[in-house]
Amino acid sequence: MGKTPAPKGGKSKSFGVYMKRYWQLYAMLLLPLTYLAVFKYAPMIYVQIAFKKYSLVKSIWELPLADNHGFEFFIKAFKNNDFKYALRNTLTLNLLDLIFGFPAPIIFALILNELCFKRYKKVVQTIAYMPHFLSWVIIYSLALQLLAPNAGLINMVIKDLGGEAIPFLNDESHWIGSYISFGIWQNFGWGSIVYLAAIAGINPELYEAAAVDGAGRFRKMWHITLPGIKPTIVVLLIMSLGNILGGGFDRPFAFQNNLVMRVADVIATFVYRVGIKGLQFSLTTAVGLFQSVVGVFFLLMANFISRKLGERGIW
């Protein structure tokens, strides 16, 4: 304790007094900032191999520049059919998630808000949050149990009703539907928390005034609740749009199988397969860099557009 002695006299006196008191705060920050420097900033050094010919034996600073002024691997990536599929699938799946997955929590929150039994509402909420706590591996195994052609619950019911089993997970277009559906299933409850909080923040006098004016349930929903949560919707929409080329690894990787790879392979899984498994480090680093840069660009664009439309952005 107190091992920073205050230097006496001169210009540094006030700084010394300051440090004597504040050194503890810097000491606290030391560990977290070191963590960020090592695990978030240090990897950025390796981004340069996107522009260089990677070799195991040389240090990354000594690697020769790739052909075409260093852009060889970006050109290669865009000539690579697997990458083109991965890029297309990333955009398609994220866009479908946006169209179907984004409104689901809003609708759910609006309906929960209309429930008049408090305790019932609580129970429904607790149940609806549950899928968020399951890992994608577990969700996929639940999906298998439900959707398998023979032993899956849903196909058993379909067959009991005299229908034909549907290949939910083994046929390309059905797979997309299943993937998006389980995405909604996992997130609709959790996503509604933010909207419920926003609804709770709406001034109740507005509803009373509307009731006096004779507005019914749906008019109130349309003219008071929705405008009240619009800022929240806009912020979350911007973040989703900014992430249109992003997306995690866990969900698509857990859901993939060999029969549907043509629609299921996304950039994150492509990088894992070709990079870490296939050891094409330069190519996949280039792909990752492209994804990051375009991601930041999308985020800036979405924020810019929302400000132009008179909404508050995310910063």
Binding site: R21, Q24, L25, M28, L29, P32, L33, Y35, L36, F39, K40, Y41, P43, Y46, V47, L112, L115, F117, V124, Q125, I127, A128, Y129, M130, P131, F133, L134, S135, V137, I138, S141, L142, A143, Q145, L146, N150, M156, V157, F188, W190, I193, V194, A197, F249, D250, F253, A254, A268, V271, G275, I276, F281, T284, T285, G288, Q291, S292, L299, I314, W315
Partner: protein, 290 residues
Amino acid sequence: MKVKSRADKVWDIVFVIFCLLVSAMCIIPMLNLLAKSLSGTDFLVRNEVYIIPKGLNFNAYSTVLKDPKYIRAFVWTVFLTVVCTILSLTMTTLCAFPLIFENLKGRKLINIFITITMFFNAGTIPNYLLMQKLHLLSNPLVLILPGVMSVYNMIIMRSFFYGIPDSLRESAEIDGATFFEILVMIYLPLSKPVMATLALFYAVGRWNSYSDALMYMRDTKFYPLQLLLYNIINNINQVEVATQEGFSAPGLSESLKAAIVMFSTVPILCIYPFLQKYFIHGVTLGAVKE
């Protein structure tokens, strides 16, 4: 309150039924799994198990509990989760607390340093190469260190700290308390809700993640439960059928898989309902103060 019209009452009922259906949608997959894990082989082979177990037995569970592989993975994952949660909470607190002091010199710079990491990620391969360089590949520490702090969670905690009245800390400062004492004696005792929320987030995150182990961990000894589960579901290792005589029927394999999934889900499902009032607040904090 005015009396509800008939149409209003009809809509009330519609919404109640809708929520009932939604809840059923969430629960039925779990019930189906539970039923399969408890059912007899014959019924499973004939595809007769819906959401109620038939031929009730606990063979699948006893097989799982007798297999050292699952027990080992379970204990290892519990250990990892506890260690990661404690370390993460410590790191997050150490980062969030100093940043609430407005006269901390360099605070703006530090905030920029932290925020950049939220927007720009170096990518999978640079991260992988870094782990290689740090000799962390296949080292158990690789499942702890890289994700030890989430900037997003740090922002949630910082927003919570901002909500604690300044006057409390100022009066302590006048009494000559150091910053460390202020943190421990004033802020931590008041921060139980945010600590509970973030502990849940970190614990669930560690418990559920498998991709870090998939990429960085070659040593099957240190596979967390979720990765083991991934391999079992995809038949990557032929481990799912316990090689006991007479147990090779596909039905057991089916119920065994279900039992393993239940086994690796139940701990989290037992915890989250009790923390509900905390995490609702936490999620809201994160969204408001972005």
